[in-house]
């Protein structure tokens, strides 16, 4: 489905602040995969998403989606087949536009001059009622009036109203209170399962990284240092994961130090 072949990205190259955010990273995402991604701050998780979405063009390597090389495709064209949610619930919807207008924008039905049709409204109403938040009765209200959890749920709806080829979730429940976070996570699971959407999810919550999905990816210094799937993943526990991270990341850190010494010479 998504084939990432040895991509690298260095920010501020040639300066003191040079940071290798992605380091020859390769990843093969199968159709229907639900991959959870963990890693320390600065491990390159969000950078990986940015690379897939085309927020920048990678320095080297290739990104292929469904057999099509999208390495140099502009971001807004990629966005047609990629859904993305950020940690900030305010980021995914336009506050001064109504709920139905936001959904219409995401659905993109009809031509340039098409307006929201009766059929669209019925579809939105039916989808919104699945959220169980009563939003279906507030479709003409501006989105700015919604709570963070409601807005994130709406963003999820917008990202999946036309099932994307891949859904990228960047800690999309981290800014919500625990109850709401659970609700949105639950919703995510349901929608992803229903439409069998290929999904990658960054999380800081080790337990949900283990519980959700069929595959777990651990990242450190721009590399994937662990990639487990199926039964091996189900057998993981938080303790095992923490230990694994320490040993894997530890060895990586040593390599890094050696590299630094090499540079100094």
């Amino acid at each position: 489905m998504l084939e990432i072949q040895g991509i690298s990205k260095t920010f501020n190259p040639g300066t003191q602040d040079a940071k290798k955010a992605l380091d020859d990273l390769s990843l093969h995402v199968n159709k229907g995969d639900f991959i959870t991604i963990i890693g320390a701050n600065g491990a390159g998780k969000s950078t990986l998403f940015n690379a897939i979405c085309g927020n920048f063009i990678v320095d080297s390597g290739k990104i292929v989606m469904d057999g099509k090389d999208i390495t140099f495709m502009p971001d807004h064209l990629r966005a047609k087949s990629i859904g993305r949610l950020f940690q900030d619930p305010m980021r995914g919807s336009a506050p001064n536009m109504s709920i139905e207008e936001n959904l219409a924008l995401a659905a993109g039905h009809g031509g340039w001059l098409a307006r929201i049709s009766k059929h669209d409204r019925e579809l939105f109403r039916e989808r919104l009622s699945q959220l169980g938040m009563g939003l279906e009765d507030r479709m003409r209200q501006p989105v700015g009036l919604l709570s963070g959890g409601q807005r994130q749920a709406l963003t999820l709806m917008m990202a999946t109203i036309n099932p994307p080829k891949i859904l990228l979730l960047d800690e999309h429940t981290a800014a919500l209170d625990p109850g709401t976070a659970e609700k949105v996570l639950d919703l995510t699971k349901r929608i992803v399962e229903k439409d069998n959407i290929t999904c990658m999810m960054v999380t800081h919550n080790m337990q949900s990284a283990i519980d959700l999905g069929n595959r777990l990816l651990m990242m450190n210094h721009g590399k994937a240092i662990l990639d487990v799937e199926g039964p091996a993943k189900s057998a993981l526990t938080v303790q095992v994961l923490v230990d694994l991270f320490r040993t894997k990341a530890g060895s990586e850190l040593q390599t890094d130090r050696m590299l630094l010494t090499d540079n100094d010479n």
Partner: protein
Amino acid sequence: MDLILTALELGLMSSLTVLALFLSYSMLGVCDLSTDGCFTFGAAVGAVVALSGHPFLAILAAMGAGALSGFVTAFLQTKMGVDSLLSGIVVNTGLYSINIAVMGNSSLLNMNKTETIFTKAKALLGGSFLGPQYKLVVIVLFAALVVLFLAFFLKTRIGLAIRATGDNPDMVRSSSINPVKTTIIGLCISNSFTALSGCLLAQYQKSVNVNIGSGMLTIALASLLIGNTFIGRRRPISLRLVGAVLGAFIFRLVYTAALRLNMPAFMLKLVSSVIVVIAISGPYLQQRFPLLMRKLGKKGRTRNA
């Protein structure tokens, strides 16, 4: 009564520029500093075409010219790496020369004996009950058409995309909306209305000079913000559009009243500047006020202690 009528006519004519700014400033989130030049551009192009005997074609030509100017402004800021404010200023400056060139190397055109859409309307409405108000009829017609167009357009898919571009740039950046496209389309349309506004004023007052548009941006912005305070920001689009027109009329009315109270005419631009500053800083200062009071209160206490 005549004064109010004139205020209504002038207000409605400038309301087209206010509606243009509603699209570019309130919806798209771009402060289009080429407005003054574009207003004159529309007036000049319209006047030249009208002088050649085609008052209706003048309207289309002026709108086309405005759209072209809007395209250049949008192109500079989306494709050429020129800052959004700077591209407006650059186009505005460039248009000054172009406007003089369009008017045949002159800074003044006279249309006293030229057929305009107003003289056409006078002939058409002649005997009917609308006859005496032929100017107002023409102006109301144009204002209504533009309001109806925008009310329709801003609800279409491309209209929604333009609104989202101004409302949440972060969201647009990670969506399938191409901000280059929305900015170009938005500025082309808004500038065509600005130019239309200039074209109407030129035909109305039967003359154009190269400074006809100077200060128009601030005047229109003041009108827009007046309309905002009357209608409110969280209202449906169609109501806000009517608010923009209302704001233009109120601005003219206040200005006319001030003239009656012996304010010299040259004060118009200062008044519009002050209104814009009050309308923009007012809410900001209101927000800061409690904090300022707290700071002052704290200082007061330390001094006492």
